[in-house]
Amino acid sequence: MQPASREFSGMNNNINPLLNHHHGGQFDPATPHDDFLEQMLSSVPSSAASYNWSDDHAPPQLEEQSLSSKMRQHQISSGAATAKALMFQQQLLLSRSLAAGNGGADGGSGLLPMPHGDHSDLIDGNSFKSINPANDASIEALLNGLTGSLGQTSNQSQHFHHPHNFGSAGAAAAPAMNHPAASGGGAAGQPRQRVRARRGQATDPHSIAERLRRERIAERMKALQELVPNANKTDKASMLDEIIDYVKFLQLQVKVLSMSRLGGAAAAAPPVTDISSQGKSGNGIQTASSSNNSDGMTVTENQVAKLMEEDMGSAMQYLQGKGLCLMPISLATAISTATSHSRNPLAGGGGPTSPSISALTVHSASIGGGEPSPKDGGPVFNSKR
């Protein structure tokens, strides 16, 4: 019922919105009904093609047939005049919802050339019973509702009674329907057949472009998922978040690397140490004492070692309070190398002695620079252990 109500709510004067909203859910094509349905359906498109949609008689007449939803699906998937298929569906839904013996005037619509008996085997028993007069009233009501929402006058409903009353044979009804339908289907079918839309896709150029765009976006999101680690695959939004975070992370890495080549981290030393300790996971974190301040340093060292056991964060804060920082070995070496190269007279040469000397030089340099703020990443600890 829900699809019916949805479709009806979406119906406007245009056929187009009908097409747009008619996405036809997940009908199950694999049923024993299929062969019969296909047979029936194959007879439909040929006649449908010639229908003239401008004549409003056609849609209501379709209502008479209560085909199963699968038939609808086949109709639509066969790419026949989709508007007509839509009408089929809605009417079918309506008539099915009645759950009464709606006889779609089987022959009447020209869609069901076979007698009732065959139908009932293959399709829902409800759908294919002979037309009961009792049902006519309800069908009428349906028709009225249908026509009303379609923007058709109620005059049409009377017109529909004729095929109604024909009964199962409905051969007369068939031509009756065909004629008006023919006039209606052709005009509307032609522009629509130009843009052969598949089931569930609208013919509106805007929405086609929109769909193409969405498909492209989906493709690219998939490609991005492979690039970015932690591919959730669940949600577009969370995927976007991941991507953004990853790009930020990479950019930060580049920043860190370019800082490490200098000697003396410029901006934000604590993040530098954090991230470099993540990125270079093999590094040990060194603490060292330079020969000048060995006493002070050892005390600090012990403190820091204690704190590190409990909580890295507090250790870092303690160091920052002193104007010191921790950093991985390779970063420290890079820095010390840089500074030792820049201070050739002080550094005895490369090799094991340079780091400690350069630690001194860096230390004195930063002190001499008069910038003891922790943000500047103070003196560098290098170790010899």
């Binding site: 929109e210 492209r216 690039l227 200098l262 000697g263």
Partner: protein, 182 residues
């Protein structure tokens, strides 16, 4: 750091982005080091140097990629280097004009689509913030439509990765090896 060229360049295909970037970056570093012979080593100087190095990294990455990608073009545009700008403009004047015309048309179709709002109003709202973030992150991302933005982001991520790899390798090779971790 003056003897970078003698160190190993990370082994890769001879003309891959990696090697192109590595070569350009090393050259840029050499230039920087040669310029900066009078080392003041104050924090501001260091900061400037850091900025210069990072800019050099981005610029050499972009020029290694070439003007094929929108983001690399955007980065190249920002370089105050006249030669590069000339190069870029000569190469791509016509191409970009044609592309822009095409792109504008597409933008008109997709963005000016009145039905769009009917379809996925919620989706658009959710995506828009992140979309904007992404646009800020990726160079040149502000003038692209979303589809293209995703494309560029994918390529940008690849290039950032190679950048990080190459720079890390350079860093490791330039440090005294006996202190390096293994």
């Amino acid at each position: 750091m003056t003897d970078h060229k003698n160190h190993q360049i990370p082994t890769a295909k001879p003309s891959s982005i990696k090697t192109r970037f590595a070569i350009k970056f090393l050259r840029a570093m050499n230039k920087l080091n040669n310029k900066n012979k009078n080392n003041k080593n104050t924090m501001s100087e260091k900061h400037k140097r850091f900025l210069a190095i990072r800019a050099a990294a981005h610029a050499s990455m972009a020029s290694a990629v070439g003007p094929r990608r929108a983001w690399s073009r955007a980065v190249l545009r920002k370089i105050p280097n006249q030669q590069k700008q000339l190069h870029y403009s000569l190469m791509n004047k016509q191409r970009t004009r044609r592309r822009n015309i095409r792109r504008n048309r597409i933008l008109l179709i997709t963005r000016g689509n009145p039905n769009r709002e009917n379809y996925d109003h919620e989706e658009n709202e959710d995506e828009d913030e992140e979309e904007e973030d992404l646009r800020e992150l990726v160079p040149g991302g502000k003038e692209m439509d979303f589809c293209r933005l995703l494309n560029e982001t994918a390529h940008y991520i690849k290039c950032l990765r190679t950048q990080v790899q190459v720079m890390t390798n350079i860093l490791h090779h330039s440090s005294p090896s006996n202190i390096l971790y293994k």
